[in-house]
């Protein structure tokens, strides 16, 4: 499918999706409450068949926290980037996609560990790298650690 066809397809499924221009891949900024529905349709519709999630990253933009999903189809050779963002820095929460792409389970655990983003209905949301009693989330922009990080 071409990017234009994909855009049309996505617009027919969910509303409120933005497509920024001039990006490396086709990019879709999705409202966080329709993420799970869209991801499910993208994976399970035969014409799109996005079966391979190759990267999931959490980003702290300063005023917002977002999750970026890089997805491609191994059979149809098209790819898309999904983004969800939230303004809630105190308690950012998104729906998990690990029921759709199993590989997301550890990616989401990593994001929870380092950015403090919670994922609803995640089967095993524990810290992955840091000890259980670690305070704070190191990849946050406002994270302070006077002992281990020297400000220059």
């Amino acid at each position: 499918m071409t990017n234009e066809q994909l855009k049309e397809k996505i617009n027919s499924w969910v509303t409120g999706v933005e497509f920024p221009e001039n990006k490396q891949f086709l990019e879709a900024i999705v409202p966080s409450d329709s993420l799970k529905k869209l991801a499910n349709l993208l994976k399970n519709t035969p014409e799109t068949n996005f079966d391979y999630l190759y990267c999931l990253s959490g980003v702290d933009y300063g005023k917002q926290i977002g999750i970026v999903y890089h997805i491609e189809s191994t059979t149809l050779n098209h790819s898309i980037v999904l983004k969800v963002k939230t303004d809630n820095l105190e308690n950012p929460t998104f729906d998990t996609v690990c029921g759709i792409w199993k590989g997301a389970e550890w990616f989401e655990r990593e994001v929870f560990d380092l950015l403090g983003v919670k994922f609803n209905n995640h089967p095993d949301l524990r810290r992955l790298f840091l000890p259980e009693d670690w305070e704070g989330y190191p990849l946050r922009k406002n994270y302070k650690d006077e002992i281990n990080i020297i400000e220059r």
């Binding site: 079966d51 890089h70 550890w106 095993d124 524990r126 992955l128 790298f129 990849l139 990080i149």
Partner: protein, 375 residues
């Protein structure tokens, strides 16, 4: 509340014997701990615990410049250090729209394939040792030395030579570079049949590897298992073929795909990849174009605001570099999608139900490098 899921499994099976494998266990190849639930000698459930060598590289990268980041990327998959460097360089170059000289592309590809060969050799010798064949260790290391000597002659260091910089290479190749590579390939083509004799065709080895740790193609895609481990299950995931970078489009090579999906298939993919790597090097080594070994770059590298993603194929699978830049000399966020991270996650799926000794074989066949998981 979320923690209860793992706890539930353990409480439900409270008769099980819980044992730790690692973090100093020799066959986990580094500081990785498996928590195993055992029934007799059968592994019922595997809980991997990572983080023993977590250094916060992604956090560190937010404070330093792009040329400095390259030296940190050596440290996650130290066996394919050059390919990790290349990933960041390619991302920076594509963001700046710099055209690197053809000479650089050829040399980078040749070093990357030599690196892949050296990595597969070390995997081969360690894998044999995991299964109790100590001789393989001496064979593999003996041949790997020859590759590291070539690196040493050109750039002074053997393992983490950090020769890549944005725009090209730090130094040109040594005059002996091409001659020594050709000598090595001539020598190593005679050695791989010896490897086959020693391990591939060994009946004891085959009985421990064939049919063990089956992974279907669907599981490989779902879990994101890439590299030789994924290709052993028939998942066509070779970035060198899918999205050719550097000089891969100029070489003619096959993507090795097997469909058996067991430990033996993953083993055979790596042996076949050694042959393919040598094919690629042979096609390129005589055709290195003359010219500069680096493009002209500004002294301070600032990436235009935006997002950049670059994928490369390391010896263990797909490495992705995701850079979010706001126009400054260091990134807002840099994420490394490392191959071993996803390759380790699949282990409970494919290895539970087997004996402990077979778990060692299966984790060996996934070729895990632990710093690559923890970063």
């Amino acid at each position: 509340m979320e923690q209860e899921v793992i706890k539930d499994i353990i409480i439900k099976n409270s008769d099980d014997y819980i044992i730790n494998m690692g973090p100093q266990h020799p066959s986990t190849h580094g500081v990785l701990r498996f928590e195993l639930c055992l029934k007799g000698e059968t592994v019922k459930y595997i809980i991997p615990h990572c983080g023993y060598i977590h250094r916060g590289i992604e956090k560190m990268c937010e404070k330093i410049t792009y040329p400095q980041i390259i030296h940190l990327t050596d440290r996650f998959d130290y066996l394919s250090a050059h390919i990790n460097n290349e990933a960041v360089c390619l991302a920076v170059e594509s963001a700046l729209e710099t055209e690197v000289p053809e000479r650089v592309k050829y040399i980078r590809t040749i070093i990357a394939e030599l690196n892949r060969l050296a990595s597969h050799q070390l995997w081969w010798c360690a894998f044999g040792m995991d299964l109790g064949a100590l001789t393989t260790f001496f064979y593999g290391l003996r041949d790997r030395e020859k590759i590291l000597d070539i690196f040493e002659e050109s750039w002074g260091s053997r393992l983490l030579h950090s020769v890549n910089c944005p725009g090209g290479l730090m130094n040109d190749i040594h005059p002996n570079f091409q001659k020594r590579i050709k000598e090595f390939i001539k020598y190593f083509r005679k050695i791989i049949p010896e490897y086959d004799q020693l391990l591939t065709n060994n009946v004891i080895f085959q009985q421990r590897a064939i049919g063990m740790g089956y992974m279907s193609k669907e599981v490989a895609i779902e879990y994101g298992v890439t590299g030789p481990s994924g290709r052993g299950s028939g998942f066509s995931c070779d970035i060198r073929k899918k999205q050719p970078y550097s000089a891969y489009s100029k070489a003619d090579f096959k993507e090795i795909l097997l469909t058996e999906g067991d430990t033996y298939a993953r083993y055979k993919v790596r042996i076949a990849e050694m042959w393919e790597s040598m094919n690629i090097i042979e096609q390129l080594v005589d055709n290195i174009p003359e010219g500069a070994f680096t493009a002209k770059m500004k002294p301070i590298i600032k990436l235009p605001a935006g997002e950049y993603y670059q994928r490369v194929e390391t010896a263990r699978g797909e490495l992705g570099v995701y850079i979010v830049s706001d126009g400054n000399k260091s990134p807002v966020r840099i994420k490394f999608r490392t191959p071993n991270f996803s390759n380790l996650f699949v282990i409970n799926k494919i290895a539970s139900g087997n004996k402990i000794a077979d778990l060692v074989a299966i984790s060996g066949s996934l070729d895990l490098v632990i710093p690559d998981i923890d970063r």
